[in-house]
């Protein structure tokens, strides 16, 4: 079991570095470190993430968006090692700026060749990258219904311009 954990850990670690660098840039650094390499099964796993130029004391010093991208890179690294048939993300894109949303969604598209993705989102850029969309609404108060939507009828289900911006 230790064998398998170590082999899995080392593969996931390599994937993590590769995925992190494509969500950030090639000049950004990261690592996964076992707190007790001699006792892998008792070890906790430390995440080190160092966007270019910065010297964060710990991942906790990173910004909301940087933390989200870092954990996303870890998750995708695990999916590369052990692909899950489908992945569900519920508003994980909320803390990301536009550039990072595009990188995040491009990564999802890359993985979607082998896995199915279900993405809950409020973000228009994310919506543009989906293959198919379902709109969830409550026409009758308190009762959900689900209908297929595309960009032609999106505004009926995701009312964007009903409220006038002052």
């Amino acid at each position: 079991a230790t064998e398998r954990f170590l082999e899995g850990f080392s593969t996931i670690r390599e994937h993590f570095i590769e995925v992190f660098r494509s969500l950030f840039t090639a000049e950004d650094d990261c690592d996964l470190i076992l707190s007790h390499p001699e006792m892998p099964l008792e070890s906790s796993i430390q995440i080190m993430a160092k966007p270019k130029g910065k010297k964060p004391q710990s991942v906790n010093q990173l910004s909301g968006g940087e933390k989200t991208l870092t954990v996303t890179a870890l998750l995708f690294a695990i999916y590369l090692y052990k692909p899950a048939p489908f992945c569900i993300f519920d508003e994980v894109d909320a803390p990301l700026d536009d550039v990072n949303i595009d990188k995040f969604n491009r990564m999802i598209r890359r993985f979607s060749k082998d896995s199915q993705f279900i993405i809950v989102t409020h973000n228009k850029r994310t919506m543009e990258t989906t293959d198919l969309m379902y709109g969830v609404t409550m026409v009758e108060q308190g009762v959900s219904r689900v209908v297929p939507v595309d960009f032609s009828n999106l505004n009926e289900y995701v009312p964007a311009d009903q409220a006038a911006v002052p």
């Binding site: 048939p85 598209r109 993705f117 809950v120 919506m127 989906t130 293959d131 969830v136 108060q141």
Partner: protein
């Protein structure tokens, strides 16, 4: 092995039966706040065997049964069915299409079903063993979990690795 369809009735805000078909690739779920998007995700977690009511934002397990509105009675039972296309034979079942189901009656009785036949929760978890699918799967992610994995709350990070290796 991909998800082909989910059918939900009497579960959370799904007072009416709702059927959603999934295709390959990326499916978006959109809609206003409070419309039921996360409830779809909860339905998938629940039918895969989620036992912790707080993971479903509920104080007690019967909190997932449609509790009615001003114009509608509450439901007597919550029911979710999830269908998979198994033509690659990833799931240890001779069926090409595998449907798992779960029911919870207001009386407290609960049932699990595999291709329409009552079974134990164990039969369902065994079916998905080693596929990465499960109610606590590393493949069902919401924003709160990002923080939990980063802070390693309740060994969540350790669990993530153990789940995968």
């Amino acid at each position: 092995m991909r998800l082909t369809e989910i059918e939900v009735k009497g579960f959370k805000s799904f007072g009416d039966r709702v059927l959603v078909r999934f295709k390959e690739g990326v499916t978006g779920i959109v809609g206003p706040n409070g419309s039921g998007k996360s409830n779809v995700v909860d339905a998938i977690r629940w039918v895969l065997g989620e036992q912790k009511s707080r993971m479903l934002r509920s104080d007690k397990m019967d909190g997932v049964i449609f509790n009615g509105t001003n114009n509608r009675k509450q439901a007597a039972l919550a029911e979710v069915r999830l269908t998979f296309d198994n033509h690659k034979g990833i799931l240890p079942s001779e069926y090409r299409e595998v449907t798992i189901g779960r029911r919870l009656y207001r009386s407290g009785e609960s049932e699990y079903l595999l291709n329409g036949v009552t079974c134990r929760l164990k039969d369902i978890t065994n079916l998905f063993l080693d596929t990465g699918i499960g109610s606590d799967s590393y493949a069902i992610i919401e924003l709160k979990m990002i923080d939990e994995i980063l802070n390693d709350k309740d060994h969540s990070r350790r669990d993530l690795f153990e789940e995968a290796t």
